[in-house]
């Protein structure tokens, strides 16, 4: 890829929603605003997603149990939403990024 192409590609992503995973297993979803040679990313209106804590999973499992005492299989696949919160405008340093996805 040439520089011209690279810029064109990146510019095409501006304003689109990216999912960026970081080394500490969090995920950030926000509007892509800016990047540079070190792959530092600026996202606007970002939400932080975090895997649910074991206790939250446990609570959800209990809740499910109390609702229906159905099969073991149902219990094994408890669905818990990732916890999210709005944190607004963020910059993610390139060195902490593990994965970038386009929504």
């Amino acid at each position: 890829m040439e520089t011209g192409h690279a810029v064109q590609y990146l510019e095409g992503l501006l304003g689109r929603s990216l999912r960026v995973h970081t080394t500490d297993s969090r995920m950030f979803v926000g509007i892509f605003k800016c990047t540079d040679a070190e792959r530092n990313l600026i996202l606007a209106n970002s939400l932080e997603y975090r895997f649910p804590t074991p206790s939250a999973v446990e609570t959800a499992a209990k809740e499910l149990e109390s609702w229906d005492n159905a099969s073991e299989a149902a219990k094994a696949t408890v669905k818990v939403n990732m916890t999210s919160r709005l944190i607004g405008l963020i910059v993610i340093p390139g060195r902490h990024i593990t994965k970038i996805e386009l929504e």
Binding site: M1, E2, T3, H5, A6, V7, Y9, L10, E11, L13, L14, G15, R19, T22, T23, D24, R26, F28, V29, F32, K33, C34, T35, D36, A37, E38, R39, I42, A44, N45, L47, E48, R50, T53, P54, S55, T59, N81, M82, T83, S84, R85, L86, I87, G88, L89, I90, V91, I92, P93, G94, H96, T98, K99, I100, E101, L102, E103
Partner: protein
């Protein structure tokens, strides 16, 4: 006004993402490769996105910026969730301690700290409020309630009532004019302060809790009392806040009075509580929707918290004394005095007062804004005038001048009501903002004055006003509306200068000049009042000559009487300010001349007198009247060039004597203009007493100014003595004086608006 850091929530992404699970595509490799092609320093960015904005971005994985950051090695579970068990049994002492800690946090929030650093660090509150409870039953600490009613009933009732109280406070503040992060942080971090739940539930719960506490015969009596008065405080405070604007109808101070009485019980029992610091945690910030970096917990002492709440209650009680409208000048005096209390009333009180002052174009829920405006005009420039009496309801013939006058006046009301009410309302802002706002509005008033002048010309023709021969021989007209507007403007200019002293804006070397300018504005204002008085006297004479109807005359004479008295009061006040300003100006000139005044600017500072003057006059540059004094003239006048020390000393002594007399007269006139009999210009029925608590504030203010006068005479005498001992001071033999400028808040600064230098003889080395 929109709170300026309101977080606008994007649509819930979780749900959307789930639906359009249109497999997100991994672009890590392409992205990385493309980015690596960029040159160092080269940016790919959204056109509309500025680097200025980028500075505000939070850096992820930076412990100082990223509230969700978890240090390597830190256990994820522990980092996010506290081990604290909200079901653990607590002793009554601990519950009392917890309640007091919560109250401290609540008051810290009232003082302007964000919830994330105060109440939202409480694990108990976090459990109550997240997930968002839909019913009263949902709002509990844990799915399985603690078995101890001390927690599941008493502490829970306390917490819930506290949250609801915050809800009322929040709702009132955010609907009024305030400055985000200066006065108050409105951010709720995507939590809800139980705004959907009816207050009656909370009262019921509190009653149950009190009942339970009363039945605990085995519990120590002191602790039972301590718990009881805390629950009662929540009850009374919640009722008081629930009342909000209804106070205009109920006219009741009962709730706030009961709050005050429970507060003394709380103060006495603070020592019985044992704080539970483990029940508060910064980790909760990791879960709050927040666009700011993590910040530490704010701690204020129970003494400070209780003092703040006590002041809030007292201000609320005193505020209710001024809810009866007693004419515009009394109304304005009461508001200004109440809001000038030190410390300034809390943001909740200031916001509540804003709503009371005016809502739905009605003053104090009773007087239409138009009436208020007309009353003010009648008081100052137009007693019993046809201009204010004309209305299109009585005269329907469009060719009739009265019809046309009424139409012109309608236009005036439309244009001037809002700015006029705003001059009153601005007092509700914080002190720095009051000055800043007035600096802006004074320019608007300059334009308003010009508009009023045009209206005056039309009205003068329509009302067939006879001209008046002035001393110089030329004839002139009264120009009532523009005179009134000019008066407003002069008040504002004076306020800008005086609040400059209060806010410590001026350096010591500027004080001479600023007091000269203050006196210049005062004398301009006095001249203007003379002009108004001349025309009112003439109008009264005309009136008496043509008086036919006796019954109407008593009303008229009352209106004129009120107007003359208003003019007299304003004049007295201005004379007092003017004389004091002249005295301080002269004193500072002497101190500057003999180089004994401390100087803020260093010898090689960039600032010069000219630059400083330009800066201070900046708000007045666009103003056409009064004309800006050119720097050269200002310098000559303010330095009293050509006057000998003896003349200046004489000037200072004379002025300060006159000032002391004038302040004395002002004090004897009292804060408020009393209604002279019945049927005065205002539409109110009179009735209740004047606000006595606020009158005390006003008196204290005048007495402080008098104290400052005495301080100034002492300083003047000290200078006189030093000059007597050393009649020709020189560089080799300077005056043997030491001068300090007392800071705001120090004991020797008797009044914020009067910077009296402390002059003392230097001790011999």
């Amino acid at each position: 006004m929109l709170p300026n850091n309101e977080v606008r929530l994007p649509p819930p992404r979780a749900a959307r993402a789930a639906q359009s699970a249109a497999v997100p595509c991994d672009i890590t490799t392409q992205f990385t490769e493309a980015a690596s092609k960029l040159k160092t320093g080269q940016l790919v960015k959204d056109e509309l996105f500025t680097l200025f904005e980028a500075v505000g971005a939070l850096e992820i994985m930076d412990s100082k910026m990223d509230s969700g950051y978890i240090a390597p090695g830190e256990n994820h579970v522990q980092a996010l969730e506290d081990d604290y068990d909200v079901r653990q049994p607590l002793t009554p002492k601990q519950v009392v301690g917890l309640m007091d800690q919560l109250l401290c946090h609540e008051m810290a929030w009232h003082m302007g700290h964000p919830l994330s650093q105060t109440l939202f660090t409480s694990i108990y509150l976090d459990k109550l409020l997240w997930p968002v409870p839909k019913t009263m039953e949902d709002a509990r600490f844990d799915r399985v309630p603690s078995e101890s009613p001390l927690i599941s009933l008493v502490l829970r009732a306390y917490c819930l009532a506290l949250v609801k109280a915050c809800d009322f406070v929040h709702a009132r503040i955010v609907t009024e004019y305030y400055y985000e992060e200066e006065d108050f942080v409105s951010q709720l971090y995507n939590r809800n302060l139980l705004s959907g739940l009816d207050p009656s539930h909370f009262f019921r719960l509190l009653d149950q809790a009190v009942e339970w506490v009363d039945s605990q015969e085995t519990m120590d009596q002191d602790l039972r009392d301590a718990l009881r008065c805390r629950l009662l405080l929540r009850h009374e405070f919640l009722s008081a806040l629930d009342e909000d604007l209804e106070v205009l109808d109920t006219r009741s101070t009962d709730n706030f009075v009961s709050c005050l009485s429970t507060l003394s019980g709380i103060t006495e029992t603070v020592a019985h509580g044992t704080p539970v610091p483990e029940a508060f945690s910064l980790k909760i910030q990791r879960r709050l929707a927040s666009t700011v970096p993590p910040r530490p917990i704010v701690h204020i002492s129970p003494e400070d918290a209780l003092a703040h709440l006590k002041r809030l209650c007292q201000d609320a009680i005193d505020m209710q004394q001024m809810l009866d409208y007693k004419g515009p000048s009394n109304f304005k005096t009461a508001i200004w005095s109440l809001l000038s209390r030190k410390p300034q009333p809390s943001v909740y009180i200031r916001c509540l007062l804003q709503a009371l002052i005016v809502s739905d174009m009605t003053i104090l829920g009773a007087v239409p804004v138009k009436q208020f405006l007309y009353d003010d005009l009648a008081e100052l420039v137009l007693p019993s005038s046809v201009l204010l009496q004309a209305n299109t309801d009585e005269v329907e013939l469009p060719s009739d001048p009265r019809f046309q006058i009424a139409q012109k006046m309608e236009g005036f009301v439309k244009r001037f009501s809002q700015p006029f009410v705003d001059t009153v309302r601005a007092a509700c802002l914080n002190r720095c903002r009051i000055r800043r706002t007035v600096c802006h509005t004074v320019v608007d008033w300059d334009n308003l004055q010009m508009e009023a002048e045009e209206l005056d010309l039309d009205l003068q023709r329509l009302s067939d006003e006879p001209p008046l021969q002035m001393k110089g021989g030329e004839t002139t007209f009264s120009f009532p509306l523009s005179s009134w507007a000019y008066n407003q403007k002069l008040i504002q200019i004076r306020r800008i200068i005086q609040m400059g002293f209060e806010l410590s804006i001026y350096a010591p070397e500027e004080l001479a000049g600023m007091y000269w300018y203050l006196s210049y504005i005062c004398s301009t204002h006095l001249g203007h009042l003379d002009r108004i008085r001349t025309f009112t006297v003439a109008a009264r004479k005309r009136d008496l000559i043509s008086a036919g109807d006796r019954s109407a005359d008593s009303q008229k004479s009352a209106a004129f009487h009120r107007s003359f008295r208003t003019l007299e009061r304003v004049t007295t006040q201005l004379i007092a300010v003017d004389a004091f300003a002249i005295a301080l100006h002269a004193l500072y000139v002497l101190l500057t001349r003999h180089e004994v005044l401390p100087c803020a600017a260093g010898a090689d500072a960039y600032s010069t007198d000219r630059l400083r003057y330009e800066l201070r006059m900046k708000p007045f540059i666009p103003i056409s009247l009064p004309e800006l004094v050119p720097f050269e003239e200002f310098q000559r006048e303010s330095a009293l060039e050509g006057d000998s020390d003896a003349i200046i000393l004489e000037r200072a002594s004379k002025a300060i004597t006159e000032a002391r007399k004038a302040w004395d007269v002002l004090l004897s006139q009292g804060a408020f203009l009393e209604e002279a009999g019945s049927g005065s210009g205002s539409g109110s029925a009179g009735g209740k007493e004047f606000p006595s608590a606020i009158e005390e504030d006003w008196k204290r203010d005048v007495k402080d100014a008098m104290r400052a006068c005495i301080g100034a005479s002492i300083s003047i005498e000290t200078v006189r003595k030093a000059l007597g001992n050393n009649p020709s001071p020189s560089a080799q033999q300077p005056l043997n004086l030491e001068v300090t400028i007392p800071e705001i808040g120090s004991k020797s600064r008797w009044h914020e608006w009067w910077v009296v230098p402390q002059v003392s003889e230097k001790k011999n080395q």
